[in-house]
Amino acid sequence: MTELLLQALVPLALTLKVALTATAGACALGVGAGFALSRRGLPGRELLDAICALPLVLPPTVIGYYLLVLFGRRGWLGQWLQESFGVSLVFTWQGAALAACVVAFPLVCKAARTAFEGVDENLEHAARSLGATECAVFLRVSLPLAWRGVLSGTMLALARAMGEFGATLMLAGNLPGRTQTLSLAVYDAAQAGRDNEALFLVVLTSLVCISLLLASGKFLKALPAT
C-alpha cells in the first residue's frame, strides 16, 4: 500500500504541475481571445469563434497530431524553437502542458466571451467618456465585471487539463517519471495487467478530482458578489 502510494506520487505531482501550467496558459489565452470575440466590430468573428472551439470538437488524438506536426522535431515551430532556443517540446512535461492547454483553452474562451458580452456596453462607454484608454476600460471595467464567468471557465479548464490523455500521449509520449500523468499511468498499469496499481491510481485520481471540485466550489461561493 505504502509502496503503491509512493509510486503514485510521481505521476500525481506531474499531473498537477502539467494541469496548473496548462490552466494558467489557457486562462491567459482564453481571456484575450474571449474578449476579442465579444467585440462586435471584429471581422470574421463567427469563423474565429468556430476555430477557437475546434479543440472541443476534434478528437484529442487529432489535436495531438496537429501539435506534433507543428512542434515536432521537424515541425515548423518545433524546428525554430530547437534552432533558436535549443528547446524541444516532444517527450517533455512542457509538451504535455501545451497539449493540455490547447484542449482546455476553448472552455475558458467560451466562458470569457459570454461573460464579456454580458457586460453592459454603456458601462464601457461611460469609462471611455471619463478618459479611460481601451486598456484601462478592460482592466477597470470589463474584466472586473466578467471575472466570475472567466473564473468558472478556468475551473472547467483545470478539470479538463487534469484528465487530458490523447493529445498528451501524441506529443509528450508516455515516459514514466517524465511525461506519464495519472491518466496515462492508469492506462499503462491496466494494459500491463497490474490490476492493483491501476485500481489504486483510479481511486486516487477520483479523490483528487473530488477534492478539487469541492475546493473550487467553496472558493467560488466565498467570492464577494459584484
Binding site: 453592459d120 454603456n122 458601462l123 462607454h125 461611460a126 469609462a127 471611455r128 467618456s129 471619463l130 478618459g131 479611460a132 484608454t133 486598456c135 484601462a136 482592466l139 477597470r140 471595467v141 472586473p144 465585471l145 459584484t226
Partner: protein
C-alpha cells in the same frame, strides 16, 4: 458651448433602415434636442460624445474639430472633454460611490487616486449630500441618489459640456421634478453648459435655451429661448404647438 454639427449616419437592422441627417449650429448654456423616440436625437448625442462615428460630416465643439470625415478627424471619446450622463446612469456596480465619482480622476491603468483627487471626490460628495454613502455600492442607492452619483462622476473632470441622455425618464414623477431642478442647479453651480436629449416637454420647460426639434432623423426646427424656466415654458409651448399642428 458652441456646437456646430452636420452629420449623416445610416443604421440597418434587417430590412429596416434609419437615416440620420442632422445639421444645426447652436450656442449657449443650454441646448435641448427634443423629439419622439427614434428620431435620432440620442444618436446625435452619441456622435458628439464620440461613442458613435457618423458615416460622414463634421462636429465642432467650441471651435475644436471633434469629427471631420473630409479631413479624417475622429477624436476618441476619452479626449473629447465632455461629460456624459446615461438614461440608466451606467454606474459601475463593482465600485463604491466614491470610486465611481473619482473614476475619471484616476491616473494610470488602474486609476489610482492621488490626494488631490481624493479631496475633490470628498468635496463633490459633500456638495451633493452623499458623503455618508461614499463606501456604498450603487446597487444599494435609490434612484435619486444614483442620479446624483452619475452627475458628480460626469462633472468631476470639469467637462467642457455635460451631455444628458433622457436623464429623468427612469425616475418616478415626484422625484423627477426635483431632480430636474437639482441637476440644473448643480450644472449652474459648476458653470458647465448642458446638452439635454429628451422627449418630455417638462424637461424642456425646466432647461430652456436653444431647442432643436427632431423628427425622423432630421432637424425640423430650431428656436432659441431664454435659459432656464423663464424661456423653458415658452419652449415647451412651442413643441406642444408643433405636436398639435402635426397630429391635431
Amino acid at each position: 458651448m458652441a456646437l456646430r454639427l452636420d452629420i449623416r449616419k445610416t443604421l440597418r437592422a434587417g430590412a429596416q433602415e434609419f437615416e440620420l441627417a442632422a445639421a444645426f449650429e447652436a450656442q449657449g448654456r443650454s441646448i435641448v434636442l427634443f423629439g419622439p423616440s427614434g428620431s435620432g436625437k440620442t444618436l446625435t448625442l452619441r456622435a458628439v460624445a464620440g461613442l458613435m462615428a457618423p458615416d460622414a460630416g463634421r462636429i465642432d465643439l467650441d471651435g475644436r474639430s471633434l469629427f471631420d470625415s473630409v479631413n479624417g478627424v475622429d477624436v476618441p471619446a476619452r479626449q473629447r472633454g465632455v461629460g456624459l450622463m446615461f438614461q440608466d446612469y451606467a454606474l459601475f456596480p463593482h465600485l463604491s460611490v466614491a470610486q465611481n465619482v473619482g473614476f475619471g480622476l484616476g491616473v494610470g491603468l488602474f486609476g489610482r487616486l492621488d490626494l488631490a483627487a481624493r479631496n475633490r471626490v470628498g468635496e463633490l460628495l459633500d456638495l451633493a449630500g452623499l458623503a455618508h454613502l461614499a463606501d456604498a455600492r450603487p446597487g444599494r442607492l435609490s434612484g435619486g441618489q444614483r442620479q446624483r452619483v452619475a452627475l458628480l462622476r460626469a462633472l468631476a473632470r470639469s467637462p467642457r459640456a455635460l451631455l444628458l441622455d433622457e436623464p429623468f425618464s427612469a425616475l418616478d414623477p415626484l422625484l423627477r421634478a426635483r431632480m430636474r431642478r437639482e441637476v440644473r442647479a448643480m450644472c449652474q453651480a459648476v458653470d458647465t453648459p448642458t446638452m439635454l436629449v429628451t422627449h418630455d416637454p417638462e424637461d424642456l420647460a425646466e432647461f430652456g435655451g436653444t431647442v432643436v426639434l427632431y423628427d425622423e432623423g432630421r432637424v425640423r426646427r430650431m428656436e432659441t429661448f431664454a435659459d432656464g424656466p423663464e424661456g423653458g415654458v415658452a419652449a415647451s409651448g412651442l413643441v406642444l404647438g408643433e405636436h398639435f399642428s402635426a397630429y391635431g
